[in-house]
């Protein structure tokens, strides 16, 4: 991937897609730096890291509705932990950053004669932090059983690490069950079931129960095992600690 203009960085938060609401998004991770310098440090500072923190900030244009809009999603969900999937390019196979986060600060409205703004700050809310994976299903229709989205090559899951997945339903039909499958090649000739999401019956986000390694398979995908009604969904799969 070469340099590119940031035009469709996507932000899926539970059952709302903030992509079209936002014009600035940023994810940052940092660790507390602790000074471990002693008289034996040969004149250099020695440092170790302490606790890590992730922060996710969105800015954009405020709007409201009964549901599925900036204000009901932000105001009603303040301090509630939700599944997040975020990335710079909303195309399957592109990087996706997955985390559980809670909205810690919400600021809205502003100056006269400007497009009504909002700012929403989110912090990590569990011990996993952020997982870097790939977008396996970009936001789109989910209406039938079978493979969903694209197969992504994440490599094997080492011992001591886990397979993670996020799944977002933006529009819900009646019910759907989605699996995460793996195989040793892109053709997915003999897929192995690794995890299940659902049954999902409403708009919202799912942080799949993580699957411990080792897993020697290298390729992963979503698969719809049962569905009634038409859904709009997206999801990402990744490997992390």
């Amino acid at each position: 991937m070469t340099e590119f203009a940031l035009l469709n960085a996507y932000s899926y938060v539970a059952g709302h897609d903030f992509t079209g609401d936002t014009n600035q998004v940023e994810l940052s991770g940092e660790a507390t730096v602790l000074d471990a310098t002693t008289f034996r440090s040969n004149g250099w500072n020695e440092r170790i890291t302490g606790l890590k923190n992730l922060a996710f900030n969105m800015q954009g244009f405020w709007q409201s509705a009964t549901e599925d809009a900036v204000d009901p999603e932000a105001f009603g969900d303040l301090t509630v932990s939700r599944a997040h999937t975020f990335g710079p390019v909303e195309s399957e196979g592109q990087p996706a950053y997955m985390f559980m986060g809670l909205k810690s600060r919400y600021q809205w409205l502003g100056e006269l004669n400007t497009v009504t703004p909002f700012t929403l700050n989110t912090v990590g809310s569990d011990g996993v932090g952020v997982v870097r994976g790939l977008l396996a299903k970009a936001k789109g229709a989910m209406t039938a059983t079978g493979a969903l989205g694209s197969v992504v090559n994440l490599g094997a899951v080492p011992s001591g690490q886990y397979l993670y997945a996020t799944f977002h339903v933006f529009g819900a039909g009646t019910t759907a069950t989605v699996q995460v499958q793996s195989d040793d090649a892109a053709g997915m000739a003999s897929p192995t079931l690794r995890g299940t999401i659902g049954p999902v019956t409403a708009r919202g986000g799912t942080w799949m129960v993580r699957v411990p390694g080792p897993i020697t398979d290298t390729h992963y995908r979503f698969n719809v095992s049962a569905i009634t009604g038409a859904f709009v969904a997206a999801g990402a799969i990744g490997i992390g600690r």
Binding site: L7, N8, Y10, G20, V115
Partner: protein
């Protein structure tokens, strides 16, 4: 989501509502009947949010009156511009929908000012007096 054509039609319809003597043109006419209001898109900002969720289009509404009677022509323009007159074009747009200026679902127009009052405008060979209303239109493409 509203199309550019629908937005121009909607703006023209609002202006038509202020005065049944004014001829409104959502597109540039070959030969306008005066007094006239012509809706002209001038600029578009398509990169306001990720995935073009919100865009802003700049319009001008040309208000044109006859030069046959300079004094009365200017009186007509003043009435169209005056925020408190029944024929106020800025107020007609402001008073459409909620939030103010919602001319179509997900489409908000507002008159932020006007310029080039008077002079001798010329469109399609018809001499006229006129003024340009500046009308930014915010379009939510997810609506």
């Amino acid at each position: 989501m509203a199309t550019l054509t629908q937005i121009r039609d909607a703006l023209a319809a609002v202006v038509l509502g202020v005065d049944d003597e004014i001829s409104t043109y959502p597109r540039i006419p070959q030969k306008p009947n005066l007094p006239a209001a012509v809706v002209v898109p001038t600029e578009g900002n398509l990169a306001m949010t990720m995935k073009r969720g919100v865009i802003e289009l700049q319009f001008e509404i040309f208000l044109l009156v006859s030069v046959a009677d300079f004094d009365n022509g200017q009186r007509d323009l003043d009435v169209y511009l005056d925020l408190d007159s029944p024929q106020s074009v800025p107020s007609a747009i402001w008073n459409t929908g909620a939030p103010p200026g919602t001319i179509l679902p997900g489409v908000q127009a507002r008159v932020t000012g006007w310029r080039d009052y008077g002079g001798k405008f010329e469109a399609a060979g018809v001499d006229h007096l006129g003024v340009r209303l500046l009308v930014p239109v915010l379009v939510s493409r997810s609506s």
